[in-house]
Symmetry: C2
Subunit: 137 residues, 2 copies
DNA sequence: TATACGATCTACAGCTACTGTAGGTTCAAG
DNA sequence: CTTGAACCTACAGTAGCTGTAGATCGTATA
């Protein structure tokens, strides 16, 4: 029987976050002591660990909900799980590509400025100037 | 004299977003027509373009506020602007590093699963298992 | 057994950076 | 003058938490 604080420490989750997961139905309503405090079983610890690990991998709460639903039906095909993971991988890769473009522009911007006064600052110029920017979309 | 819609189209910004920027003090309160509609000058167009371009580069609204303040004092040293840009570059690089670690784990996870049934799915196992994960922080 | 004090409780507000909606008004083209 | 797109305000909602206030609970120690 674990208190919410213990659960939090074991999984690196804030107490409020656990209550929030309960509120949105991602975590089940646990048993309570006579005084009304939450008490958890190991199964709930595992579930929370799953959620947190998935969050660390960047899965949205919606995706995690889907994964949890799927894992409740162990006889079904795991193609759907693969699809969720693939989608996440694509998202991560798209974000990397975007950030790498940003990095290049930021580096160029910073490298170009050797001014002293704000008035001559190339960084501001680049930010003001829309010619050579990323906004093709 | 530009309407808010025109401003939006020229900068790729939704009308509500412009009003939001005004509300939080990032854009000035523009003049109005007799009927109460906003009318902008070219200076405001430039300011909005600056904001949007900076947003595209991942700067937070707070950072942009700082950059705009600095650029209002063109005689000051541009070292502060450089610092803001450097900080942003570090943030971007940190995010890239993090996402690259995620990509590796996601790829490994997906590559390892050749199961049919959810019950045997390696992806879920990896997500459940905290042994080999990223959570050193 | 009494007490102290940290942990927990509920309920709600706040964060970032917008986006969407409802219900009404204004502008400009035809 | 009419029509319809664009505009107005005000407010709620999004994700994923985090923080606060004020009250109650649980347990280790005296």
């Amino acid at each position: 029987m674990l208190s919410i604080g213990t659960l939090g420490k074991r999984t690196g989750t804030k107490v409020q976050t656990i209550r929030y997961y309960e509120q949105i139905g991602l975590m089940p309503e646990p048993g309570r002591t006579e005084g009304g405090q939450r008490r958890y079983e190991d199964a709930e610890l595992d579930r929370l660990a799953f959620i947190r690990h998935s969050r660390e991998l960047g899965f949205s709460l919606e995706a995690i909900r889907e994964l949890l639903d799927l894992s409740d039906n162990p006889e079904r095909s795991c193609a759907q799980i693969d699809a969720v993971a693939q989608k996440q991988l694509h998202k991560v890769e798209a974000r990397i590509a975007r950030l790498e473009a940003l990095r290049i522009e930021l580096r160029r911007m910073i490298g170009e400025c050797h001014a002293d006064r704000v008035a001559d600052c190339r960084i501001l110029e680049v930010l003001r100037d829309h010619e050579e920017c990323l906004s093709e979309h």
